[in-house]
Amino acid sequence: MNLDSKIPEGELADKWTKYKSSVPLVNPANKRNMEVVVVGTGLAGASAASTLAELGYKVKAFCFQDSPRRAHSIAAQGGINAAKNYQNDGDSTYRLFYDTIKGGDYRSREGNVHRLAEVSTNIIDQCVAQGVPFAREYGGTLSNRSFGGVQVQRTFYAAGQTGQQLLLGAYSSLERQIGLGNVEMFARHEMLDVVKIDGVARGIIAKNLITGELERHFGHAVVLCTGGYGNVFYLSTNAMGSNVTAAWKAHKQGAMMANPCFTQIHPTCIPVSGEHQSKLTLMSESLRNDGRIWVPKKEGDDRNPNDIPEDERDYYLERRYPAFGNLVPRDVASRAAKERCDAGFGVGPSKMAVYLDFKYNLMNKYGKAEATKKGIANPDDDTLIALGKDVIKEKYGNLFDMYRQITDENPYETPMRIYPAVHYTMGGLWVDYELQTNVPGLYALGEANFSDHGANRLGASALMQGLADGYFVIPYTLGSYLSKDISTASISTNHESFDNAEKEVAARIEKLMSIKGTKSVESFHRRLGLIMWNKCGMARNAPDLKDAIAEIKALRAEFWSDVRIPGTDKGYNPELDKAGRVADFLELGELMCVDALNREESCGGHFREEFQTPEGEAKRDDDKYMYVASWESKAEGEWELHKENLEYENVKIAQRSYK
């Protein structure tokens, strides 16, 4: 199979401009006759659906939640990057592009990433115009902060709930188009298959989760904005409902999954506390602007952290990476935390945690500044702490409250305990420059695709990519595709391809309901998660991955013979819906291990223990693995690998260094 990335010819900085000015268009009268199905209403989906509707297309949007406003983009905390250079600190489109390529450990496409950096500034303008209340300075200008892997301040934010504010902006645009009758919204609907006619995506089969009925929806094109698959690990920072099902159904219909093993393990999450836990909670990376990460220098030191003197603390990120310090990229910070804990220096009841401590900046950075502003001479420590607390509260208040709620500890007084957890998946459906999968008419946007983050995503870049894809890329690229399809009239959903697709979906549901086994869906999900975390998590090796593949196959067989789903397939049955999602995770997990086993190098978040530098850093093998691993589904548990070679014409390839 020929994987053509369709990167436009020409100079890097001119590619997107040239593409936009030469792309074929659809005239307004024809747009009104063209239907587009958008699945998912997070940042990518809501922005795509509303923007396409503004252009005049007839849009149908779907989400499994009770309202489009609930999509998990809402939980993003720290911020969104844009190369505005408002801080006059040396930022530029090229620098954002370069940081992203380097942060991704040289495993993403130059053309895509440069476009992302170019449109980043438009996103901020658009969001402000929508009324997104970003943080501001007293002079009325927008405020910025830093994120990992970067030496400029280019992150725009709204306290610790930037994702919420951006999503509500996109959601309000979407609701406006719903109110105007340009978008038909289907909440509490889940996509269960892509319908292809003559090899082209022409619609979906969706289940109404309330009535249990299957529905057929035609579209000239289908746009998947269905997020990532981190929940394959059971415990992750994803929402409970986040799943791979829509992307996986597309994969089974021929769309390739690219780099599925590239998983982001986020360094600052609240540690696992017990068996009861259903999910993990992130503490934003933005906290590393002001929090310093440390463990005791003495192994097994179980004193109260506030009683451990300065010279007995190991600020290991500042020690190992003096140039970036606490703001190294996520993959580096996560591995460093694991290394310290594995070596016996971990803290807290489980010993699988490190401290994130705000006291130093609370006093020295903010406390002193406030004291100066207020004219307080020689403030004592308590005064500094009190003054600094107010500033920290304004910057991150909700995060500190959340931490306190979950752990019952006060992070203003005691350092936070944190540990890495599954957060984001860089891998996803393979797409070309136009965000089209290898199935014509089927597109993937946002976290659902693989394209922009390589082997490691930099902080505050997910929001940027979701909105870039939805607001500024798909309106052009989809138009290019639809311009060749204007003579296709809407196809009746009585077409035999819809018949067959619906029959297959119904048969799968019937099969699930007929098992009537003894174990809950949840119990299988939990077991899958353990296999994935232990053998395909932060550190991987060939023997473990081979074991994991065998274990997942066995678990899948057990699931299909012994899962118990209560109720019936009629009406509202959340257990049945969960069963379908876990069944898909049980296939995806295997592919992730296959991909991780194939990639005999370490890069970004993919760390193969066999391939590391003497200092324990990821060791790439650019000669053999500078490619996108795209997997074509052949049968259950069988895939064929297709390689898209990555070419770097502008960036000099180097060993990534943050020292």
Binding site: I74, A75, V132, L142, S173, S278
Partner: protein, 251 residues
Amino acid sequence: MEKVLNINLKVWRQANPEVTGRFEEYKVETSPDSSFLEMFDVLNEQLINSGQEPVAFDHDCREGICGMCSMVINGRPHGPKKAVTTCQLHMRSFNDGDTVVVEPWRADAFPVIKDLTVNRSSFDKIIASGGYISVNTGNAVDANAMLIPKDDADTAFEAATCIGCGACVSACKNASAMLFVGAKVTQLATLPQGKAEREKRVVAMVNAMDAEGFGACSNTGACAAECPKGIPLSAIATLNKEYTKAKMKGF
């Protein structure tokens, strides 16, 4: 050994909107570190293992931000703690042996779907009627071209933190949605970008609110007291002010 709490639950069970619901009693053993929803996970696991139907309840992010979870716990939306959603309520707020009564949001505009799950699409319809700034993608000027005083930005942000959960409606004896609508109106009327259509917006949103069957406000303040995000009662004052001004201008 890990500490364990024994909780007696009385949970509202209702198979679908057409049938009459009733309370069912269950016993659950839980860790004090579990969240309220994790305690429900344990209950559901028990029910499934004993061949019964699990309790249907809405939830998703479990971080207090998506607004999907919605339980009335001992008569209070999101339970006993201030400024906390159901998913962030932890069992350490309860004592061993406690009886806890759990009901769905109750309001005509939020009909029950099943058990503790209700239909809140009326909120979406209110937003669709005018809870936005009419700006198509691509029309924006440079973000710093418009300076917004920090205090205004902060006021707008505070109002914009509403998660649309509906606790305000559930807490109100009139099932009024004034706090929800007031929050959105406050956000957009405070910002210069939102001023162009402020009159049209507030009238449309209030009309939609009435059409969806929400009640009127009688200033008891239960909504603000139970709001998990601390949206202040002044949002309703702003809503009334904006509405009156718009009406006087003839909108």
